[in-house]
């Protein structure tokens, strides 16, 4: 409760008893109703003038539904002596009230979330794996970089060569913005847990210093209790009187453990008063469960029908799984039951879930009674396609044809006549089926005679023409084969990385190729960055663009560097060959044989050929940048 002035009127600022409502009443008229009330929960912020200022004011920011901006109320504390104390006390009580309100509301939110957690798990997952969360999670980034060596090399290399004007965060953001898929997959992979396993098989007591010790982790204990309902029951019933330690140590030496493990119980085993009564209960409990859960009518029991072998006397479980009174090899049943239970929690991975159980689609379709079923519901989405006629209008596309027409310099009717005549003349005078003359094929003539005549035979299907056509087709086949071979070979031999395959063909060594691949990756990275900033049209990123242009220049230089190195390597090869030829010449006493230097592949030419598309894209990017720069300068200057 404080004397305050609001909008130049005097009044009192009050906080209600329960701390929920803040209200301001004007002093005159007396007993007036509070003019201003806000619910404390809606208060977003409080501000107060610092203690050393003479004037004491408090600003209250209230969230309102009507406007985006919070409403601001300014109160000036006008009591003569106690303005500051009043303000302070009011502020303290207000802040506690706000905290309380917030706690309540956040509790409500959490409760609400938990309620809806089951129905909307995807929302929570979205928030865990949303884009922002992913790339802010440095831990995740580091992990992924460690896992994926190629990616980490690209990252470090690009970081090294980035221009200094681009900050680290910007660079990171850009780098990961195109790799969010990888991040997400990695994050999901990290949160995977191993499935359940049979705990009892893992727990083994050790013998130390003639004492039997056993270590169980908390996890294992919970799994144990979950997997074996008997143990849970025993625990619930016996532990308050018994100590935990005692319970577990007795359990692990009892006959019950042996039974659960499936081992045979001999008379030599110690009897335990607590656990032995559960020995006989075990079976009946499970049997009861099984019977109760298996009450599915036979006609719709798909699972049962799958196991149904009428020749074998009914729907009884597998021979090994029958409950018999004689405990010959109980371990089989136990293990089978345990595996069934564990596997039921895991999604199957060898069946196609869309297929009906037990039969494949073919037989299912044949067996299904189709006549009585109605029409299948159309699972189509309606596209409201308007005016489809527009798509099929033939339209007057006269451009190309008029050109053709004018180039042949005839009118349509003449054209047609000519064509008709040509079709007829070819067939006159000969049997129409003897196509040899019209084809110009001459089986007897030799290709040699054609060549000797020295002129390209112009007639149809001359040998020259046939040879050239053949060459063309073989050329195409060779090209296709070269492309297909790379992909095929890379798949068949796992030891071959793509680099080791390209190496012999291009004549470059594997290290040069490695460097080239790295340069390529970083160049592409910077090109991405350049284009996304360039095309965003955001004026604030103009400087980024400038620095990126410099980077692209540097990328060109890097490629040059690799090319020069490759060239020097090639020079070594060439000199080697030359020396060998000179040696041979000296030995044989003849002048050295000229070596074909062009046969040695590799060097600058190969590098340039491999990187040609990248170099083209860099020059396109730089060109576009220069154009934009020029045009903007003209506009600015004009």
């Amino acid at each position: 409760m404080a004397e305050t002035t609001y909008k130049k009127r005097e009044g009192f600022l009050r906080l209600s008893q329960d701390g929920k409502i803040l209200s301001w009443t004007p002093r005159s008229p007396p007993d007036a109703a509070p003019e201003l009330t806000t619910v404390v929960a809606d208060i977003a912020n409080l501000q107060q003038t610092p203690p050393d200022k003479p004037k004491v004011m408090m600003k209250v920011f209230v969230k309102s539904d009507k406007s985006v901006e919070p409403l601001v109320y300014v109160f000036t504390f006008s009591s003569h002596n106690e303005a500051r104390t009043q303000a302070d006390s009011l502020r303290d009580s207000l802040s506690t009230a706000i905290q309380a309100a917030k706690a309540v509301s956040s509790n409500a939110i959490i409760m609400g979330q938990q309620d809806q957690a089951v129905s909307r798990p995807s929302n929570q997952l979205d928030s865990i794996y949303s884009d922002d969360q992913l790339w802010n999670n440095f831990d995740l980034l580091q992990d992924l970089l460690q896992d994926n060596t190629a990616l980490s090399r690209t990252w470090t290399e690009a970081r090294k060569s980035k221009p200094d004007t681009i900050t680290d965060t910007q660079f990171n953001k850009q780098f990961w913005s195109s790799r969010l898929g990888l991040l997400r997959a990695h994050a999901i992979q990290r949160t995977q847990r191993t499935g359940d396993y049979n705990v009892l098989s893992v727990i083994k007591p050790r013998v130390e210093d003639s004492q039997i010790k056993l270590n169980i982790s908390g996890d294992q204990l919970t799994m144990l209790l979950r997997q074996y309902a008997v143990v849970r029951r025993a625990y619930d019933e016996n532990v308050p009187p018994l100590q935990e330690q005692a319970f577990w140590s007795r359990f692990f030496t009892s006959r019950l453990l042996k039974k659960l493990k499936g081992e045979r119980i001999t008379d030599a085993d110690p009897k335990d008063s607590v656990f032995d009564k559960y020995l006989s209960q075990d079976n009946s409990a499970r049997l009861g469960e099984r019977i109760s859960e298996a009450r599915v009518p036979h006609t719709i029991d798909l699972q049962g029908n799958e196991e149904n072998h009428p020749q074998r006397r009914g729907n009884a479980p597998d021979l090994l799984m029958r409950p018999t009174s004689v405990e010959k090899v109980p371990i089989i049943r136990t293990l089978n039951a345990m595996s069934e239970q564990l596997m039921s929690q895991v999604a199957p991975n060898d069946i196609d879930p869309s297929q009906p159980i037990g039969v494949d689609e073919e037989t299912f379709n044949q067996l299904a009674l189709r006549d009585l079923q109605g029409d299948a519901a159309e699972n189509r989405l309606i596209l409201n396609v308007k005016d489809q006629g527009r798509f099929f209008a033939s339209g007057k596309d006269t451009q190309s044809d008029l050109n053709l027409l004018t180039s042949t310099k005839t009118t349509p009717s003449l054209l047609l006549q000519k064509l008709q005549k040509s079709l007829v003349t070819e067939r006159q005078g000969l049997s129409i089926h003897d196509l040899t003359p019209s084809l110009g094929l001459d089986a007897d003539s030799d290709s040699d005679s054609d060549d000797q005549s020295g002129i390209e035979s112009k007639h149809f299907s001359s040998h020259h023409a046939l040879r050239s056509a053949r060459k063309q087709v073989f050329g195409l086949i060779k090209e296709q084969r070269a492309q297909n071979e790379d992909t095929n070979a890379a798949g068949t031999n796992p030891g071959n990385t793509p680099l080791t395959l390209i190496a012999p063909k291009s004549g470059l060594s594997v290290e040069i190729l490695d460097r080239l691949a790295l340069t390529h990756a970083t160049t592409i990275e910077f090109l991405h960055y350049f284009w996304s900033t360039f095309l965003s049209g955001d004026p604030s990123r103009a400087e980024e663009i400038a620095s990126l242009a410099i980077t692209l220049d540097r990328a060109n230089q890097r490629i040059e560097a690799v090319a020069t190195d490759a060239e020097s390597e090639r020079e070594i090869e060439v000199t080697k060959l030359r020396k060998a030829a000179a040696e041979r010449g000296r030995r044989l006493g003849k002048p050295p044989v000229a070596i074909d230097e062009t046969a040695i592949k590799g060097g600058r030419k190969a590098v340039m050929r491999l990187m040609e598309p990248t170099i083209n894209s860099i020059s396109t990017a730089l060109r576009k940048y220069k154009e934009a720069r020029l045009s903007s300068e003209l506009e600015n200057g004009a």
């Binding site: 379709n365 396609v385 308007k386 527009r390 798509f391 099929f392 033939s394 339209g395 596309d397 006269t398 190309s400 044809d401 053709l404 027409l405 180039s407 042949t408 349509p412 054209l415 047609l416 000519k418 064509l419 008709q420 040509s422 079709l423 007829v424 070819e426 067939r427 129409i432 089926h433 196509l435 019209s438 084809l439 110009g440 149809f460 299907s461 023409a465 040879r467 056509a469 053949r470 063309q472 087709v473 195409l476 086949i477 090209e479 296709q480 297909n484 360039f534 095309l535 965003s536 049209g537 955001d538 004026p539 990123r541 103009a542 663009i545 576009k624 934009a628 903007s632 506009e635 600015n636």
Partner: protein, 366 residues
């Protein structure tokens, strides 16, 4: 006393299908645009092409007795079957028995055709009917039809597909209760008939036909019918490259017109089953351009509606897609790249520097 021998022997070996190669149906689409042929008449006259085509057809038929052929002419304003044709006289006399109709077909040409003993009759039949049909086609075309359009390629492809479908359904052993529909099981089962399409194209494809052409391409991709294309001129293949690449066909531009027969026989003859073992002689670079839906312009980079995937060369008015009517959100388009720091505020101009989805990377949904 019933011995085992009396029981019906329903063992597998009687119903096993023959291991011989399945017959192949070859549909040839011949572009018969007279303007284009007039253009080509010095290097590659039409009669010679028809002759080469006949040799090719004979070779195809020689591979397997059951191989089939069909030739469709894609003319300026329509598509027509050149072979097999039904003459009007046959349509009238439906009751006439088959012998008559066969003789009728053979007698369409000169009388000497069927009787010439030097020639294998099926080859002779095809040759004569093809030549006659072609002659008739040109006789029917009025000169006025030439001024307006290019070849009706989409129509011809649809005809070919329908013909192939009809034959496949006729010859496939009926496995489902609904024989009129090719179910997926029929497709994956060993088919009785393979089918392919060979297009000999001489004129540039009209962008107006882009949509029907793409529909035909997707349909044939679904039916696993490869579309091979032999482009007779370098410019005559705007959208056909996409056709071959989508349907795993072979695309070739004829470089040596005089070697047409050689090219045909070497690159296009192998049948479908053998293509799995051979390297196809197809051109590697594919022109993936498309035609925009609004103006039929050929576009390289354009705008695509995310609902119905229709292509536009520029954003449609009101940002409402033509085909499906959804209001589209335009994100970041038309912003001019800012490379220098400006002192004054300027209006943002809409240039052609918008962010666009390159339609070159658009892959068909088949």
């Amino acid at each position: 006393m019933a011995s085992r021998m009396d029981e019906l022997d329903a063992s597998e070996h009687y119903t096993k299908e023959s291991e011989d190669a399945a017959p192949v149906l070859l549909n040839i689409i011949l572009d018969t645009n007279p303007i284009a042929w007039a253009y080509l008449s010095d290097t590659l006259p039409l009669p010679k092409v028809v002759a080469a085509l006949l040799v090719f057809i004979n070779a195809h038929l020689a591979f397997n007795q059951a191989n089939k052929i069909s030739v469709i002419a894609s003319h300026v304003d329509r598509a027509e079957f050149l072979y097999p044709t039904i003459t009007p006289s046959e349509v009238q006399s439906n009751e006439a028995n088959e012998m008559d109709t066969v003789m009728q077909n053979a007698r369409n040409g000169h009388d000497t055709a069927a009787d010439d003993a030097n020639f294998y009759r099926p080859f002779a039949t095809i040759a004569s009917s093809l030549n006659d049909a072609l002659r008739k086609l040109f006789a029917k075309t009025p000169p006025s039809a030439l001024s307006n359009s290019t070849t009706a390629l989409a129509g011809a492809m649809t005809l070919a597909l329908a013909h192939a479908n009809k034959l496949i359904v006729e010859l496939t052993p009926d496995r489902s209760t609904n024989p009129a529909v090719i179910t997926s099981s029929a497709l994956t089962a060993p088919t009785a008939l393979h089918s392919r399409i060979l297009v000999l194209s001489a004129s540039p494809a009209s962008p107006h036909q882009y949509i029907p052409l793409m529909n035909a391409i997707f349909a044939s991709a679904r039916l696993s019918i490869p579309i091979d294309v032999l482009a007779l001129t370098p410019t005559s293949s705007t959208f056909l490259q996409q056709a071959s690449s989508t349907t795993n066909g072979i695309f070739l531009t004829l470089q040596y017109p005089h070697g047409l027969l050689q090219t045909l026989l070497q690159a296009f003859l192998p049948s479908l089953p053998s293509r799995g073992y051979l390297v196809p002689a197809t051109q590697s670079a594919v022109d993936f351009r498309a035609a925009c839906f609004c103006h039929r312009k050929v576009v390289d980079v354009g705008y695509v509606c995310s609902i119905c995937l229709s292509i536009f060369c520029e954003p449609p008015e009101g940002a409402i897609c033509f085909t499906c009517g959804t209001k589209l959100r335009l994100q970041d388009y038309g912003k001019k790249p800012v490379v220098t720091v400006r002192k004054k505020k300027r209006k943002r101009q809409e240039g052609d520097n918008g962010v666009a989805t390159p339609s070159g990377r658009m892959t068909p949904a088949a």
